[in-house]
Amino acid sequence: MKKLGIVFSIIMLCGLFSCKHKEGEYHSLKEKIEEEGKHYQDPGISSEAYIGDINTIEITEGGHTFLIPERKGQIKSFACTECHSKSLAQLQKGPKEPKAHWDIKLNHANANAMNCATCHNGTNMDNLHSLTGNTIDFNQSYQLCAQCHSAQFEDWKGGAHGKNIGGWAEPRAAMTCINCHNPHRPQIGSKWPVRFNTEKENERK
C-alpha cells in the first residue's frame, strides 16, 4: 500500500513537471507578457541612429522621459525680437496693410476662447505664455496645448497619441504637437488616398 502511494506521488510529480513544456507554458498572451516581462533586461537594441538629423531635446513629463524635436531652430525668423524691436502697439501704428504674418489666419477654437495673445506674449515675442501669464519656451510649446487638451496630452505622454520617430527601442523620440498640427489651424484636412489598387478592381468585376 505504501509502495503504491510512493509510485502514485511520483507519477503526480512527473505530471506536474511535464506540463512545463515550451508550447503550453502560458494560458494566455497576457500571462506570457506578465511572466516574461518580470525579469526584463534591456535587449541592448538602440534606435538612436534612426532619429537622423533631427535636433532633439529631452523632456520629462509625468514620469515619462523622451525626446522631442527642437523647435526654435526650425522657425525661419527666430528670434522674433529681430523684427519685434518695438512693442506691438507701436508696430501696428504704421500703414494698414500687414507687412508680415499676413498668411496667418487663426482658425483654432472660437474668438471668445482664443486670439493671438492667448499664446503669444505681446511684450516678449521670443517666448510664449500660459493662460496665467507664465513664460513658456518655444521648444516646450506642448505645455501650451496641454492647458486645454489635457486628454490628448495624457495620451501623448504615454505614447497613444502622436507619432513615434525612428524606432521602437531606446531612446524614445516622439513628434511634438506642432510637428503635425499647425497651431494656428490645428484641424488636419481631408485628402485623397495615395494609391488605388486597379488589379483588385479588375478582379471584382
Binding site: S28, L29, Y40, I45, Y50, G158, G166, W168, K191
Partner: protein, 384 residues
C-alpha cells in the same frame, strides 16, 4: 519478362499453342462448322506472350488516360502507366538543377562565374529548413543569396540573418479613431517589402466602415478612391496579426512557417511548397500567395533585406507581413508605422514595461479581432 513482372496480368492462355489451336465458336477442332475455313494459317495467329503483353500495355495506356480524370491526389502521379523514358524524366525532374550544376561545374569550357553560380544553385537546392539551421548555416545561405544576386544582376544587396533578441516580444496597436484612410502605410509597405508590382499585392488592407454599424467586413470597402476621411465612416487596418497561437503554423505540412522567439510569424520562402493551407487557416486574411513570378523594377528594389523578410520571392510561395523583420530586429519601426501621418500605428516591445505599446495596453480600452478564437493576435485596436 515472366517472373519479373511488377503488374497484374490477365492470363488468357494465348501462350499455349494447344488451346489456341482448339478454339472455335462451334467447339469442334475438325473444321466442320465452316468458320474455320476463313481462318488464316495457325502459325500466323500464334503470338508470343511478350507481344501480347505489349499489346495489352498499349491498350491499358489508352484506357488509363480516361481513368485519370477520376483519379485524385497523388494517384494522378503515381498510378499512371508510363514508358521508361517518361518515368526517367519524372524521376530526374527535381534533380535537373543539380545535374545542370554538375555539368557546368565540371565543364572545362564554362567560366569561373558560371561555375560559382552552379555551385551556389547546387547548395541552395539541397539546403535544409531555415528554422532548423544553425547560425553558421543561416549566415551561409544568406551569403550565397547575396553572391548569387551579385552574379546575376551585377548589383549588391544587404541581407541579414539576424535572430530574435532575448527579452523582445513585438506587439502592435492601431488607433481606429485616428486612422483617416490615406493609405500611406500601404504604399510604404509595398516599397519596403518588394511586393509584386504586376498583381499589386498588398499586405495591409484599410477597411472603410460605416459609423455605428460595428465591424462588417463584408460591407466594408478596402479599395476606395475618394476624398478621405469620408463622412460617417471610420477606417481600420488589417494585416498579419502575428498571433501567439497561430493557426497558420499548425496547418503547414512542411513547417515552412513558424513563430519566432520575438513573436514574429515568418515564412521560409525556400521551404514553402505553396499548398496555401495557411492561407485557408488564417481567420484574418493575413496571408498572400504569389500566383505569378513576383517582379519589382530593379531601381525600386529595397536592397536592405532579411532572409525571413523582404528578400525577393518566387512564384508559388506564400508571403505576408513580417512587421518588417529587416527593420524591427534592428530597432527601427516597421515601414507602415513610419509612414502613417496620423500616428494611428504604435509598435513596440511588449516585454518592456516602459514601452509605449505597454502603456497603450494598460491605459486604453483595447480589443482584438476574433478574440474568441484563441489565436492571441499581438495586434490590438483602440480608440481615443
Amino acid at each position: 519478362m515472366g517472373d519479373k513482372k511488377k503488374w497484374f496480368q490477365l492470363d488468357l492462355g494465348l501462350g499455349q499453342k494447344q488451346a489456341v489451336a482448339g478454339s472455335c465458336g462451334c467447339g469442334k477442332p475438325s473444321g466442320g462448322c465452316g468458320s474455320h475455313a476463313t481462318e488464316p494459317p495457325k502459325n500466323d495467329l500464334t503470338i508470343s506472350a511478350e507481344e501480347f503483353d505489349a499489346a495489352v500495355e498499349q491498350e491499358l495506356m489508352e484506357d488509363s488516360m480516361v481513368a485519370q480524370t477520376r483519379k485524385d491526389g497523388f494517384q494522378q502521379v503515381f498510378d499512371r502507366k508510363m514508358d521508361r523514358r517518361t518515368a526517367f524524366r519524372k524521376l530526374t525532374a527535381s534533380l535537373l538543377v543539380g545535374a545542370g550544376a554538375v555539368h557546368t561545374s565540371c565543364s572545362v569550357t564554362s567560366g569561373e562565374e558560371a561555375k560559382e553560380k552552379a555551385q551556389i544553385d547546387w547548395e541552395e537546392q539541397f539546403k535544409g529548413n531555415y528554422k532548423l539551421m544553425t547560425q553558421e548555416e543561416k549566415q551561409a545561405t544568406v551569403d550565397r543569396l547575396v553572391r548569387s544576386y551579385q552574379l546575376r544582376k551585377k548589383e549588391n544587396i544587404k541581407m541579414s540573418a539576424a535572430d530574435a533578441s532575448k527579452d523582445v516580444l513585438f506587439g502592435y496597436a492601431f488607433n481606429i479613431s485616428k486612422c483617416q484612410g490615406y493609405m500611406d502605410c500601404v504604399s510604404a509597405c509595398v516599397k519596403e517589402n518588394n511586393q509584386d508590382r504586376n498583381s499589386q499585392m498588398q499586405y495591409i488592407r484599410i477597411h472603410e466602415m460605416k459609423d455605428g454599424e460595428g465591424f462588417k467586413f463584408n460591407e466594408a470597402d478596402d479599395n476606395y478612391y475618394h476624398e478621405v476621411p469620408a463622412e460617417g465612416h471610420f477606417y481600420m487596418g488589417t494585416q498579419c496579426f502575428h498571433c501567439d497561437n497561430p493557426p497558420c503554423v499548425n496547418v503547414c505540412p512542411v513547417q515552412a512557417t513558424w513563430r519566432e522567439e520575438d513573436g514574429l510569424v515568418v515564412v521560409d520562402y525556400d521551404w514553402c511548397i505553396g499548398c496555401r493551407y495557411c492561407m485557408a487557416a488564417c481567420p484574418y486574411d493575413g496571408r498572400r500567395f504569389n500566383w505569378s513570378k513576383p517582379e519589382v523594377p530593379e531601381d525600386e528594389i529595397n536592397k536592405n533585406q532579411h532572409y525571413l523578410g523582404n528578400r525577393l520571392r518566387k512564384k508559388g510561395v506564400m508571403e505576408k507581413c513580417t512587421f518588417c523583420v529587416q527593420r524591427s530586429r534592428a530597432g527601427k519601426d516597421p515601414a507602415c508605422v513610419e509612414a502613417c501621418p496620423t500616428g494611428a500605428r504604435i509598435f513596440g516591445n511588449l516585454l518592456d514595461p516602459n514601452s509605449t505599446i505597454r502603456w497603450v495596453l494598460e491605459n486604453k480600452q483595447v480589443f482584438r479581432l476574433k478574440e474568441d478564437l484563441g489565436t492571441e493576435p499581438k495586434f490590438w485596436y483602440f480608440m481615443d
